[in-house]
């Protein structure tokens, strides 16, 4: 009996200790949880080397670990980060930056002009991702002083700073980390940086469990300091399913979903008082590229601007926002749709849904009853596209135009638009400018950007447009350059190489306790993690 009692007491003690330690663990975990920001993305990035990265799946961590010379503010203005000022030479070929002092890399060395030069060389050496903003423009980089660096450009490039800014702008990796992890075959340590990070930002890399999560924690020597409220740690979790992300948010297991969820899940979260849903326009837009050449047609259809204008008037823009995209979309105007663009015209012409006007234009074009067939293909990455295509199909049918519709996944999409013979007449897809540089954006519709080189899949070209683009690239005077770009945009508006549908809103669902949210349309699927805190 005594032995039995002792045994029972021992078992009880073990259970008590186990329970107690679990409770202590839970309490510690709770404290750690409060100081940790947990976000979700639905996809895993291919790699996270900032000099090769051109995706969106780790944007919030990219901007937590790395920094650029400038960033765009909410209003599109340039905000100094690692540079405090810059000057431009009279010929527009040299940009001299004064760097911020007192900045350290996560590996401990100073950020200075030599580090900037070295990073430009690394970007050019790797020649991956967004390297073209350096390789296409920079002749050489000169260390003028310890904290002054000069970029000598191949040709005058007004607004070059804008090209270095933006989601995929030039960021700075730690030379010390590269030195430590480089090999004879990989002198830039690209393999190591594929799944590791080391920069100057407020957060330093801790770990990356593939398929699961990436962890960063605060860098104590960050130049911005840690006064005020900030998170100590950020964890990005990879959660593919929208419904799972919603459940995790409702349970409080995560704080923020960085990429838009399914509309049904967003609506459910909007009804939850402990969840806040914010929707801010971004520069990611939905467009329909309109083919401007005739291949295999019986007459001038797509090459006729009046037909293309009729197609623009036949599109129901408001219905797309109201009935299909809902909170996920905002109306846009034309090529220069964001106020940050040079040449932005608040009074620019905007196409509206007007079937009568469309009919008149078709009569002028010689197709009074339509009577022809078009193909529309959408890039199968957004769930709204099939419904948009179906809606447009119904509207074109009212004009006597038969529209065949289908979707293509990314891997086959590229192949379809590689030649005019295989490119559909209309291509519904997303586009996004990399930066606020107007002529870099309108460059996308010049002849040099025809597929397979790039994405002018409407095969648009116009001599006047090309002349204006070339003139803008060399124009030093800001006002004159803005006017040149505006004229080019007006030509595009009349010629309709693109139907401008809507801007995609950054719809972020987060716990109502999350504060410090500052959004910029130029940085999709992310917030500035350093500013965030829990109320």
């Amino acid at each position: 009996m005594k032995r039995k009692c002792k045994r029972l007491m021992l078992i009880g003690l073990v259970v008590l200790v186990a329970f107690g330690s679990l409770t202590v663990f839970q309490a510690l975990a709770q404290t750690e949880r409060e100081k940790t920001l947990i976000v979700t993305y639905p996809f895993e990035p291919s790699q996270i080397d900032p000099h090769a990265y051109s995706e969106a799946e780790v944007n919030i961590l990219m901007w937590g670990v790395y920094e650029s010379l400038y960033v765009y503010g909410s209003d599109g203005s340039l905000v100094p980060v690692l540079a405090t000022s810059y000057t431009v030479s009279e010929d527009g070929k040299t940009y001299t930056f004064v760097l911020r002092e007192g900045v350290k890399f996560h590996t401990g060395e100073d950020f200075n002009a030599n580090a900037v030069k070295w990073n430009v060389e690394r970007q050019m050496g790797l020649n991956l991702g967004p390297a073209r903003y350096v390789t296409d423009f920079v002749e050489s980089v000169e260390v003028v002083d310890k904290y002054i660096i000069a970029f000598h450009l191949k040709q005058p490039t007004p607004g070059y700073v804008l090209l270095l800014t933006g989601n995929w702008g030039l960021k700075f990796v730690s030379p010390g980390a590269v030195e430590e992890h480089k090999t004879a075959d990989d002198p830039w340590a690209h393999e190591w940086f594929r799944d590791h990070m080391s920069g100057t930002g407020p957060y330093k890399f801790i770990s990356y469990e593939h398929g699961q999560h990436i962890v960063v924690e605060k860098f104590d020597d960050y130049w911005g300091g840690w006064e005020g409220r900030h998170f100590d740690k950020i964890i990005e979790r990879i959660v593919p399913e929208s419904s799972t992300q919603r459940l995790l948010l409702e349970r409080g297991d995560i704080d923020l979903t960085c990429m838009p969820l399914e509309l049904e899940d967003i609506k459910a979260l909007q009804a939850n008082p402990s969840i806040t849903v914010t929707a801010e326009p971004t520069v990611l837009i939905f467009i329909i590229s309109v083919k401007t050449v005739d291949v295999g047609t019986t007459g001038p259809i797509m090459s006729n601007p009046k037909v293309r204008q009729a197609l623009a008037y036949a599109f129901n823009y408001d219905a797309v926002i109201d009935d299909i995209m809902g909170i996920k979309g905002s109306r846009i105007s034309d090529m220069l749709f964001d106020p940050a663009f040079e040449g932005y015209d608040p009074d620019h012409f905007v196409y509206t849904y007007d079937l009568e006007k469309a009919k008149e234009l078709l009569v002028e074009a010689g197709y009074p009853n339509g009577g022809f067939r078009l193909d529309l293909m959408w890039l199968a990455v957004f769930p709204e596209y099939p419904r948009i295509a179906q809606m447009y199909q119904a509207d074109l049918a009212k004009l006597g135009i038969t529209l065949a519709i289908h979707g293509e996944p990314p891997a086959t999409f590229i192949d379809r638009i590689a030649k005019p013979e295989t490119t559909p007449d209309l291509v519904l897809r997303p586009r996004a400018p990399s930066n606020a540089h107007s002529f870099d954006w309108i460059h996308g519709w010049t002849k040099s950007m025809w597929p397979p080189t790039a994405y002018n899949e409407g095969y648009y070209t116009n001599p006047a447009f090309e002349v204006l683009y070339e003139a803008a690239t060399g124009e030093i005077d800001d006002l004159k350059r803005a006017e040149l770009v505006r004229q080019a945009a007006r030509i595009a508006s009349e010629e309709v190489p693109v139907i401008w549908i809507a801007a995609v809103n950054d719809v972020m669902c987060h716990t109502s306790a999350l504060q410090g949210i500052v959004h910029s349309p130029w940085y999709m699927y992310t917030l500035w993690p350093y500013d965030l805190y829990r109320e």
């Binding site: 330690s21 940790t36 291919s46 398929g211 979790r237 593919p240 459940l247 995790l248 891997a411 192949d415």
Partner: protein, 340 residues
């Protein structure tokens, strides 16, 4: 079981794998896709794309590409993933343990629950337990696996009783990697906190994955046992005065399990297929998770690697099932005919 039979089956397995790899290669390359473009994104030039294509050998003619892949296979090199840039073998070693852990957990549930349920249903034929098991079995084979996943998440997500995604609590340090199975590695490391977390995380996806196979096993065991319980030797055992449990477990069940082995080998194949959907819903970072992203981007080397691995697993399981079948029933010859 003659060794020659095993060797012959193994050689046929190799031929099958080569055939599967060739079909997969042809199908993936028949799709008019450009995985380099899809992975490189929009902010790249044509020259960068062409350089990447050369780097991955995709500029070579298709027969050359397949030949190189086969040669690489003999050295254990499955090429490099276009998406991750890593050797496919490394990617598979990274993601496979999670799928293995999930599959083992699911099979454990299938066997631990399906066998007793089938036995009880057979012994209580046409009684309430039999009807209930029939209902569960019908649900298991009728309900799509992803639908069950979402129902489980909703049911447990709101109650907070079990985690609804991931492999382990994110605030727990991962155990040192030995097998890659978090439950096993945490036990080996003596980390009970990690073990408990890993175990609770695998429950829901394992239940989801096991549900369909559990239904099949229950019905197969039930019907097989009912057949055996009607045999003369069972009647003899009863007439000798053996208790009913002894009759069932010592005499009847062993023979009833013989056809079950073949069925379960096939069920493993279906279970492997189910992994793809389960892993996506439960954010389980296994082969299905890796494969789906690879398929979306038509990452040829990764797709070939996953298909080869899963086909090998399925083929080996079938071979093991055939060998076991021969051992368990001495009447069966290697030619599949009853020996005289």
């Amino acid at each position: 079981m003659p060794l020659q039979y095993v060797i012959r089956r193994f050689l046929w397995m190799v031929v099958t794998l080569i055939g599967v790899s060739l079909i997969t290669f042809i199908v993936t390359h028949a799709v008019p896709a450009d995985p380099i473009r899809a992975v490189a994104g929009m902010n790249v030039t044509g020259e960068q794309v062409e350089e990447l294509r050369r780097r991955y050998g995709l500029d070579k003619p298709l027969p050359i590409q397949y030949y190189r892949w086969l040669v690489g296979l003999t050295r254990g090199d499955l090429g490099r993933s276009i998406r991750t840039g890593q050797p496919v073998v490394e990617d598979l070693l990274r993601y496979a343990p999670a799928s293995l852990e999930l599959a083992l957990a699911a099979m454990t549930l299938v066997v631990l629950l399906g066998l007793p349920m089938g036995v009880i249903a057979a012994v209580n034929k046409d009684k309430s337990f039999d009807h209930m098991s029939r209902l569960i079995a019908l649900s298991g084979v009728s309900m799509p696996i992803f639908w069950v996943a979402l129902l489980l998440q909703m049911a447990f997500g709101r109650t907070g009783l079990l985690p609804i995604d991931g492999r382990i609590d994110i605030f727990i340090s991962l155990p040192p990697r030995v097998t890659g199975l978090y439950t096993v590695d945490s036990l080996l490391a003596g980390n009970l906190t990690a073990f408990k977390s890993a175990l609770t995380h695998v429950i829901l996806p394992a239940v989801n994955l096991a549900f369909g196979s559990l239904a099949v096993l229950t019905r197969i065991v039930r019907s097989s046992l009912l057949d055996v319980l009607g045999e003369d030797y069972v009647r003899t055992a009863r007439s000798k005065g053996l208790s009913e449990p002894k009759v069932i477990f010592l005499h009847a069940l062993r023979n009833a399990l013989i056809p079950t082995i073949t069925i379960m080998a096939m069920q493993m194949g279906l279970l492997i297929g189910g992994i793809f959907l389960v892993e996506i819903v439960f954010s389980w970072p296994g082969l299905g998770f890796y494969a789906i992203r690879s398929i979306t981007l038509v990452d040829f080397p990764a797709i070939m690697g996953v298909v080869l691995l899963l086909t090998t697993v399925y083929a080996v399981l079938n071979l093991v099932a055939d060998i076991l079948y021969g051992f368990m029933d001495p009447r069966i010859s290697v030619e599949g005919r009853l020996t005289k």
